[in-house]
């Protein structure tokens, strides 16, 4: 599955978790969500377009940005088969920084489009 592929890739540089409910983790960490949409042809599905959102969280902005660069490097290099998902190409979409008052943490939201042959 593509979510596992992204998580295992990001885990090379930072602790990573899927976004399912509240996450209690030691900062810095990454929370990951992937939305998947198939490419339909008349002969069936010929691949998947996956929009991956990777959120980097820490109390310090400089740490967030440093970890973001490391994450961007490993995600951009995703290729071949990772956790049984065959990656076709990876495209950076955008990133956006913010500060969460409740947790007193800086957040960097990085978005990618990852096209894959299978789920």
């Amino acid at each position: 599955m593509i979510l596992q592929a992204v998580i295992s890739t990001v885990k090379k540089v930072i602790d990573a978790y899927p976004i399912i409910g509240d996450i209690e983790a030691v900062t810095p960490f990454a929370a990951i969500d992937v939305k998947q949409k198939p490419f339909f042809t008349k002969n069936g599905i010929c691949g998947y377009s996956n929009t991956a959102e990777i959120i980097i969280v820490h109390q310090g902005l400089s740490v967030v940005m440093q970890k973001s660069e490391e994450v961007k490097t490993v995600v951009a290099a995703m290729a071949g088969t990772i956790d049984q998902t065959e990656i076709e190409n990876v495209r950076f979409i955008e990133e956006e920084q913010s500060f969460d008052e409740k947790s007193q943490c800086y957040i960097n939201l990085i978005q990618y489009q990852i096209n894959s042959k299978n789920q």
Binding site: F39, F40, T41, K42, N43, C46, R91, Q113, N115
Partner: protein, 140 residues
Amino acid sequence: MGNKVLGYNIGLKLGTKKILGTTQDNFKIEGVRKESIMKADAGIKQYDNDGSRASFSVTAFVMKKAVAEADVMDIQDIRQACAQNSQAAFVYGGEAAGDYTVSGNAMFLSCAETSDSENYATVTIELEMIGDPVFGTVGA
């Protein structure tokens, strides 16, 4: 009450091949009208049918076929067919028993490709029917 037909159950086959990566087929058929007027028509124009014309517009992903895929046309096959105005027997419609079909001969007219910086490239292929159509039913 009749049944609606799902779009993916209608396809176009050219010879023995389908166009690889097809996402949409547009088919238009129309009668050719011949206008006439005689004095006896008292100023009212008369119309007769003088055959028909039909055309296809197929939208597909730009794809390269695998070596084993002999029953499909990929982008290079399509480019060549359009450049040479190749002709092929076509069957348009469903493949299940009882499905309606239209068949005949078609000529490749053109293909127009779109490739941007973010998405997979697509191609639109235009074909025109040559001669008369045959209306049939699969298995009939």
